[in-house]
């Protein structure tokens, strides 16, 4: 049972580069989410998706792009990385019907130099 996996786990890039963080889940959950975790801020929602081809902005969407062509994948792209996007990024999923519980990946630590 692979669950939800994120790749890469660690990434160092330079300002202005494009970076894509991948998220893949094997449960066929309807809902998927991207959060970023920063000291003092907890987790903040970047984007979420209710189903394939349905996405919407969260609290802090600026500088990020998402897509969801298949239910199981929800990649997050930083089109032109900035230092302020240095963070730990978590992907999560939820089967829908409001169980409330989010199932999290292990996170991707991104450093922008």
């Amino acid at each position: 049972d692979a669950g939800i996996t994120q790749s890469p786990r660690y990434k160092i890039t330079e300002t202005g580069r494009q970076v894509t963080l991948m998220c893949h889940q094997t449960w066929s959950h309807s809902y998927m989410f991207w959060y970023r975790q920063d000291l003092g801020h907890g987790l903040r929602l970047i984007y979420y998706s209710a189903a394939a081809d349905i996405t919407d902005k969260g609290e802090v969407p600026d500088g990020y792009v998402v897509s969801r062509s298949k239910t199981e994948n929800f990649p997050l792209t930083l089109e032109s990385a900035t230092r302020s996007q240095t963070s730990v990024y978590f992907c999560a999923s939820n089967p829908g019907g409001f169980t409330g519980e989010l199932f999290f990946g292990e996170g991707s630590r991104l450093t922008v130099l």
């Binding site: 409330g100 519980e101 292990e106």
Partner: protein, 114 residues
């Protein structure tokens, strides 16, 4: 707008001592409330959740939390802390309908002294 406040950034307790982590929320209707735990280098794991009914909820690993509407609080407790409980704890609030989004607090980092 929904929000969650965890007043304590860091807490240190001795092993075997009792623990209470504070959480206050702001939400116009009856909230859904959650506590998650994050071990170092890991994702978040659900400890417990409150939807309705009994205001004292039991979770995994011996944790419990009490919903107090009058105080807008959902504090997490454990009667006797183990060294393995050292982690970061997040309180979160959700709402009816609309994508199951959760709003998280800033977290409380728990250290346990032997």
């Amino acid at each position: 707008a929904q929000s969650v406040t965890q007043p304590d950034i860091h807490i240190t307790v001795s092993e075997g001592a009792s623990l209470e982590l504070r959480c206050n929320y702001s939400y116009g209707a009856t909230p859904y409330l959650f506590w998650y735990v994050q071990s170092p280098g890991q994702g978040l794991q659900l400890l417990l959740k409150y939807f309705s009914g009994d205001t004292l909820v039991q979770g995994i690993k011996g944790f419990e939390a009490e919903f107090k509407r009058s105080q807008s609080s959902f504090n997490l407790r454990k009667p006797s802390v183990h060294w393995s409980d050292a982690a970061e704890y997040f309180c979160a609030v959700g709402s009816w309908g609309g994508y199951n989004k959760l709003i998280f607090g800033a977290g409380t980092r728990l250290a346990v002294h032997p």
